[in-house]
């Protein structure tokens, strides 16, 4: 395949790919030690998370509440392991803490908690609400004439929630061009393929009809993520939806595109295989 014009330089790409790999290892470590959690959808968005927190967003791990920072809302809050692994990798809290996920004396709640976890901008987990909160943050930026940007990641199944479309209307109505929403289109939800459970497709036509700028990409391709986010910055007067085709469970052989890994933790043997797949020595 010929090198695309917008392709990022190799060193940067190698570095980001390595960060995404570390995030995936963090996801497996945390979910394995918790004995439960949501590895599939977490692994699928690792590349998006790596790009956002290490290239796109202005954040300061030493000052997580920095008012001028860019905001991130994980609307699909059940993939908290991806957010926690990313924040730890970025230095918001020690990576050693990841293995405490979901334990009674840990601040790493099963779903993101804005009160106690450094770097988390909104408590999420009840699907459909995060994107609305992201709209509120983006509107606050307009009100206060701040130039920060707001990023959200939604699940494709999450778009079955009606509130997502209330938010879609709102964001377009108030011309929130400082808002970018990724739709993590991995095609699977708890009860099976989304096309069989309750098909919300086509996402691109729906968001277009709701007045958004729409970009469709491979959400596991760092070049395409970079190009989409660069394009989003040029859009004025409307929010941007990035429909990101991803592989659920990406990077762990037996989890890829397997619906049963939506919300299950690997057993010891599976854990070892997962680490090997990710090129990591067993902890």
């Amino acid at each position: 395949m010929p090198e695309r014009e917008n392709s990022m330089e190799n060193a940067k790409k190698t570095a980001l790919a390595e960060i995404a790999r570390q995030i995936r290892i963090g996801i497996i470590e945390s979910v394995y030690h918790a004995g439960c959690g949501h590895p599939g959808g977490s692994l699928g968005i690792a590349d998006i998370m790596a790009y956002l927190y290490f290239e796109e967003m202005k954040v300061d791990p030493k000052n997580p509440k920095w008012p001028a920072r860019d905001r991130f809302v994980l609307s699909k809050g059940h993939t908290a392991p991806a957010l926690y692994a990313t924040l730890a990798e970025r230095g918001f809290f020690p990576k050693e803490e990841l293995v405490t996920l979901r334990q009674i004396d840990s601040r790493l709640q099963g779903h993101p908690d804005v009160k106690y976890i450094p770097g988390v901008d909104m408590s999420t987990g009840s699907l459909g609400q995060g994107i609305s909160a992201a709209c509120g943050m983006a509107l606050a930026g307009k009100i206060s004439k701040s130039d920060y940007r707001v990023y959200a990641v939604l699940g494709d199944g999450e778009t079955e929630e009606g509130q997502v479309w209330e938010a879609a209307m709102f964001a377009a109505h108030y011309k929130l061009d400082n808002l970018v929403a990724f739709i993590d289109w991995n095609g699977l939800q708890i009860d099976g393929p989304i096309a069989e459970v309750m098909n919300p497709a086509p996402h691109d036509a729906k968001f277009l009809a709701f007045g958004w700028h729409v970009i469709s990409i491979n959400g596991n391709d760092l070049d395409e993520i970079e190009a989409a986010l660069a394009e989003a910055r040029t859009v004025k007067g409307k929010p941007t939806a990035i429909i990101a085709r991803t592989t659920k469970g990406k990077g762990v052989s037996y989890m890829e595109n397997a619906v049963e890994w939506h919300g299950a933790a690997p057993k010891e043997e599976q854990y070892k295989i997962a680490l090997a797949d990710l090129g990591a020595a067993e902890a």
């Binding site: 909104m122 709209c135 509120g136 209307m169």
Partner: protein
């Protein structure tokens, strides 16, 4: 005495306080009815209509608050506390964000619109959320004070307002001062305590007169803050009078009456009888006959007060 609906006083309070406080107001296509339209007219750049989409409005407010704004979100109680309950709980309550959730047209004084719009459950719903302050002012003066107190308080607050006008009792009270979590004693008597909130406060004062005509002296407490409840004031009144009646324009399940009964049974047990909407939906009708039908009257409060006195040991 001048009468005004608390929803109207709410709109006026927003418009007045908007001159000195920095906050934003959101509504869900009911600005004319919730009276936030008064604020909208004066401060259009700080007013955001969310359309008929209360769930989104609620979570948008959470995002605004997370980014440092102070949002008031307004709709009928049925929708702000009822329809969007789970958004209030998860988007606002759990992260303990500085959002003021407002429910106007609470209770059956909605009148002709009927049961679908008569919310008799909002106090119960909002009380159940950890850390939520729940305030139901009784008149115009108290409404203004409650809105300002909510603005000065950092955290989630639910404010409950009525469609129907009430006399400005607290405006007539020379030493009136408003503090979240502190009930207002409107009058003192030794025989029984009437604890009321919102629309029922003026009816409690009427009941006091009915009782006085029979030689029964009642303490009347305007318990504007349903949560956190003023336990000290309540226990002191229970000790003094030995019998309590509650009055609320709300279901007897989960509202002020249950809060008072639970608090007293755990601290200083005395007979507590509740006046409120029995386990029932409302219906369409003019307000005065509706109040009669559902037993939300001064006569009913007086009758229950005598029954409570009879239960004293």
């Amino acid at each position: 005495m001048e009468k005004m609906a608390t929803r109207e006083a709410y709109g006026k309070a927003l418009a007045t306080l908007g001159e000195t406080y920095d906050f934003v107001v959101l509504d869900a296509d009911l600005a004319a009815a919730t009276k936030t339209g008064v604020f909208k007219k004066k401060f259009p750049e700080r007013f955001f209509d969310c359309g008929i989409a209360e769930a989104n409005m609620t979570s948008v407010a959470a995002g605004l608050a997370a980014a440092g704004q102070i949002p008031f979100i307004s709709s009928f109680a049925m929708f702000s506390a009822g329809r969007a309950f789970e958004q209030v709980r998860n988007s606002i309550g759990y992260p303990h964000l500085n959002v003021k959730v407002v429910g106007t047209h609470a209770g059956i004084t909605v009148g002709e619109d009927g049961a679908t719009h008569q919310c008799n459950e909002d106090l119960a719903l909002m009380r159940s959320i950890p850390g939520m302050v729940v305030i139901n002012p009784s008149d115009a003066t108290e409404t203004f004070a409650a809105v300002e107190a909510a603005l000065r308080y950092e955290g989630p607050v639910y404010l409950r307002f009525s469609r129907f006008a009430t006399p400005d009792l607290t405006g007539e009270k020379a030493d009136f001062k408003f503090e979240i979590g502190k009930g207002v004693t409107l009058c003192e008597g030794e025989d029984v305590t009437i604890v009321a909130c919102g629309y029922m406060v003026h009816l409690a004062m009427e009941a006091k007169e009915l009782l006085a005509a029979e030689g029964i002296r009642a303490t009347v407490i305007d318990m504007h803050t349903v949560k956190p409840l003023d336990t000290d004031l309540l226990v002191a009144a229970a000790k003094k009078t030995g019998a309590v009646v509650t009055a609320e324009e709300h279901s007897i399940n989960g509202g002020l009456g249950e809060a008072v009964a639970a608090t007293l049974s755990e601290t200083y047990p005395v007979p507590v009888l509740r006046v409120g909407v029995a386990d029932a939906f409302g219906k369409s009708g003019k307000v005065p006959p509706l109040l009669e039908m559902y037993g939300l009257t001064s006569a009913k409060i007086a009758e229950r007060a005598k029954a409570a006195i009879a239960l004293k040991k």
